[in-house]
């Protein structure tokens, strides 16, 4: 178990550099991920501020104002507020003296500047505290020199430095001197008990811009002379462009030109081993260039194109069949094996086996994919919403045969990510377009483009089998059949790994031409529901109490020396007990049915209880009680927002989210056919945090996976029937009333 002590050793010389600014004041460059070169120097002009050696900066002006250039892209997970809060805490400043700006990416060197996997806070925690504390110590040292006293006699708090005689200096009064000092080593960090900013409620730093409609997002990005591009991609996965007729499109008022792109992507695909985030497709695409967005979109509608089948066009029935074949077959890779599950099954009193199914899912970020590019012989300027700016820059350089140092990536706020903006397909498209037309251009996807040419959460099936002997769980086997890849990392070692003597995880996959990728809480977003539904059923089969069974199994994991087991049985038990207490588990009023889930993923321990009622034959999720152990909560209001959003998102997709293909063509292309959860279906979420002083873990993902399971278990309690397939509302057996999507 990690604690707040420094478990990462920093090479401070490499990680922090200071300099005086030409404009006066102190600039501290630091590297969150310690990957910078020792000879790196921060710029003395703010205009030269770059992220080549340091991925974040703090500017302390002579008037004491502090600007923190936040390094990580903001997708709505709140790091642009919470990461600077950590620096300000150790720097010991009043939060209202801190300004936060989004940093940009320079591409001379690369460091981890990615939003994804709920990792930002976890990786940044030590580095951000160190940076703040070191800067504060330098200010103290400078004041000590000025007063001619020993630094140990000086205190700094709330932006004011005070000596033993009671004299004071502002941080701004000593920044010039501080900038010239050596960077001190081994600076003490605060005791969490003394925190003044961490653990408070700090409103989103962009709130004023958001509520007044200021430009923030990629779609809002604009430069003089910019044109708009709309891209016609193959209507079916598996198709490639043969030819096109642009004559009608060119007649549309506002259309400037129609071009074809794709050769560059194709040639890169043929010769390079490309990065996992580089979703390149090898087909030609037709691009309408126009004076405004509407003309670009209308022009695209007027295009006529002929496509050919380059690889088989797949339908949902086909995927279903393939996944079943895989589950029934023998071609598995084993990701974890303890004991002998086969023996356990053969010796069991009872064997329980269930299969769970989930469909593909689009991300549906509220802001459709878009990106800006302006390419000249000297520079490639890219701007927009992307979770992986470094990968995008590297791939664009390879694509266009340019030097990566020519590339500047400006990051805008993102209207949602959910994993979609890890993939840079739209960046490569706009790069090819801009390279051809040599004008500043923005590629904009319509909702239909965004939804039907996505990078989907893959369809997956799980088959879980358990052996029960003498009232004990003696064997547990999890089989995964998935499209285009399988669970990774430590997922096979999640609970109940370590709690069952004979335990095995097997995976198999089918390679499809439908593009798939990470979707908020990859794999666990569906696995949690499967496993937790299974657990409920297992408890019923064993005649055991649902809560006690989990607590007892966790008891067996305590003291494990298996390093692959990263979940903490104590912390999982902690959230379980609190959820039982806070939800009124077992004493729900007449007509309210509860479902329970406890789950660990993304380094965070969560328990959820869903309260469901049946109204007019259909389920209504009234309330979800969510207990989270994410260590220290940095920004309470932001954290609660993430928790609530994750829960409601998880419920929405498990109840309604469905994405089917017919001969390679997605069956839904906009919100009239694809149902997202809305206000009336969203339950009240009651959030509780376990109070401790452990290092913070991320919150963007971990509350989502358990939500579907909690609802599924509550549905069983309410109807007596189990749902084995997502989305739950598709089950015609249970819901006699066929429900139409509620339209806006």
């Amino acid at each position: 178990m990690s604690s707040t002590s420094n478990n990462i050793k920093f090479n401070r010389r490499a990680f922090l550099r200071t300099s005086s600014l030409a404009s006066g004041g102190l600039l501290i460059g630091f590297n969150l991920f310690t990957a910078c070169r020792p000879e790196a120097k921060p710029p003395v002009n703010l205009a030269d501020l770059n992220y080549s050696d340091f991925n974040a900066f703090i500017k302390i002006a002579k008037n004491g104002a502090v600007t923190i250039f936040s390094p990580n892209p903001e997708i709505g997970q709140g790091v642009k507020t919470s990461m600077p809060m950590i620096i300000a805490e150790e720097l010991d400043l009043p939060w209202n003296m801190v300004y936060v700006e989004q940093g940009h990416l320079d591409t001379k060197n690369y460091t981890r500047q990615v939003a994804g996997g709920s990792q930002s806070i976890r990786f940044g925690w030590d580095a951000l505290r160190q940076t703040g504390a070191t800067a504060k110590q330098m200010l103290i040292n400078a004041a000590a020199d000025k007063w001619g006293v020993d630094a140990s006699e000086i205190k700094a708090s709330e932006g004011i430095i005070t000596n033993a005689a009671g004299e004071t200096l502002g941080y701004g009064d000593v920044v010039e001197e501080a900038a010239k000092l050596e960077v001190p080593e081994n600076v003490a960090l605060k005791d969490p008990k003394d925190y003044k900013i961490i653990g408070t409620d700090q409103v989103n730093v962009d709130i004023d811009k958001i509520i007044t409609g200021q430009p923030l997002f990629g779609l809002d990005y604009k430069v003089d002379g910019m044109v708009y591009a709309s891209v016609l991609r193959p209507p079916a996965f598996g198709q490639e462009l043969v030819s096109f007729d642009a004559s009608a499109a060119k007649e549309v008022l506002g259309v400037i030109d129609v071009i074809e792109i794709g050769e560059k992507a194709k040639s890169l695909l043929s010769k390079e081993e490309i990065n996992w985030t580089a979703q390149l497709s090898g087909t030609g695409k037709v691009v309408v260039i126009a004076k405004n967005t509407w003309a670009a979109l209308e022009g695209k509608k007027a295009l006529k194109a002929e496509w050919k089948e380059a690889s088989p066009l797949e339908s949902t029935d086909f995927h279903d069949k393939k996944l079943n074949e895989l589950l029934d077959g023998k071609e598995f890779a084993t990701l974890r094996k303890d004991g002998d599950v086969e023996k356990a099954f053969s010796q069991a009193d009872k064997v329980l086996e269930r299969t769970y199914e989930s469909p593909f899912l689009p991300h549906n970020c509220m802001e459709p994919m878009n990106f800006f590019a302006n390419i000249t012989d000297d520079e490639i300027h890219l701007a927009g919403p992307i979770q992986t700016p470094e990968d995008a820059a590297i791939t664009v350089a390879e694509l266009l045969g340019r030097d990566v140092t020519d590339i500047k990536v400006e990051m805008t706020r993102m209207g949602g990510g959910f994993g979609r903006r890890l993939y840079g397909d739209f960046v490569y498209e706009v790069a090819e377009i801009a390279d051809k037309i040599r004008k500043p251009v923005k590629m904009i996807s319509s909702r239909e483009d965004d939804m039907t040419t996505g990078v989907y959460r893959p369809a997956i099936k799980y088959r879980i089998k358990a052996a029960i002997k003498d009232g004990q769980l003696t064997g547990y086997q999890l089989k995964e059949a998935a499209i285009n890849g399988n669970m990774y990392g430590l997922i096979p070692n999640f609970f109940p790994a370590g709690a069952v003597e004979n335990y095995q995880v097997d995976v198999a996959n089918y390679t499809s031409n439908i593009t798939t990728g990470a979707w908020r809480a990859p794999y666990t977003n569906f696995l949690a529901y499967a496993e937790q539904s299974f657990f409920d059923e297992l408890a019923e089969e064993m005649d055991a109490d649902k809560i006690q069974l989990r607590l007892d199994l966790l008891e067996k994991v305590k003291g494990t020396t298996d390093e692959r087991i990263q979940y903490s049985p104590e912390r999982l038990q902690g959230v379980i007990k609190m959820a039982v207490d806070k939800s009124g588990w077992g004493s729900a009023p007449e007509g309210t049915y509860q479902g329970f889930v406890a789950y660990y993923c993304h380094n965070t321990h969560v328990a959820e209880v869903a309260d469901v009622q049946i109204q007019n034959g259909l389920p209504v999720v009234k309330k979800v009680t969510c207990v989270v152990d994410c260590g220290i909560v940095v920004n309470r209001t932001g954290a609660i927002n993430q928790v609530e959003g994750g829960v409601v998102d998880g419920i929405g997709h498990s109840m309604y989210g469905n994405y089917a293909f017919n001969k390679g063509v997605p069956e839904a292309s906009n919100y009239d056919k694809y149902r997202l959860i809305r206000m009336k279906e969203a339950p009240v979420v009651e959030t509780y945090f376990i109070e401790n002083e452990l290092s913070p873990t991320g919150l963007g993902e971990p509350t989502l996976p358990p939500a579907g399971g909690a609802v599924a278990n509550a549905l069983k309690a309410a109807t007596g029937k189990r749902v084995y397939k997502q989305p739950f509302m598709l089950d015609k057996e249970i819901w006699k009333v066929t429900e139409k999507p509620v339209l806006g």
Binding site: G76, I210, Q214, E251, P368, L676, I677
Partner: protein, 161 residues
């Protein structure tokens, strides 16, 4: 039918946030794109283009409308209010409530949410919980900030009495 190049772009006089703007646009251009691309008011957002998500909500004579599905040629002299014109400085009680409750996550849907809420509260200043849900049901928030949107609308209602 999409107009042909041989036709000149018509000019429209639009009354946006109390000012009359002259814009050239083909007559079927949705108000949304005129606001965003021609008038550089990008607060109004594009989400679906088919009147399903509410991201593009503006006020037309005080009523909440979906600007993505409103051709510019049908607006005439009617008064348009966008998020930029809701208040000088973000001080509309609904905006203040949004800040107080710290509603946004990614923030993209929020201008539309705020515009729907303001038009609703102007007509129903003292709504019940159910009425708030009905009024806001048409606006999607992909980040699912619904709990907070609900809270902010009722907080704003209290501020407005």
């Amino acid at each position: 039918m999409t107009p042909k190049k041989s036709i000149y772009m018509p000019t429209y006089q639009l009354n946006v946030n109390g000012k009359v703007h002259s814009v050239e646009a083909s007559d079927n251009t949705p108000l949304l794109w005129v606001l965003r691309d021609e008038l550089n008011m990008v607060g109004t957002k594009f989400g679906c283009g088919i009147a399903q998500c509410g991201a593009c909500t503006v006020h037309l004579e005080g009523n909440a409308v979906r600007s993505c599905s409103l051709p510019v040629s049908t607006v005439g002299e009617k008064k348009i209010t966008t998020i930029e014109g809701l208040s000088e400085d973000g001080s509309h009680p609904v905006q203040e409530a949004w800040k107080e409750i710290d509603v946004p996550q990614c923030g993209y849907c929020q201008a539309g949410q705020i515009m729907t809420a303001t038009a609703f509260l102007a007509k129903n200043p003292n709504p019940s919980d159910e009425e708030i849900k009905d009024a806001m049901h048409g606006n999607i928030c992909r980040c699912a900030t619904y709990n907070r949107i609900h809270k902010a609308v009722s907080t704003a209602a209290k501020k407005m009495v």
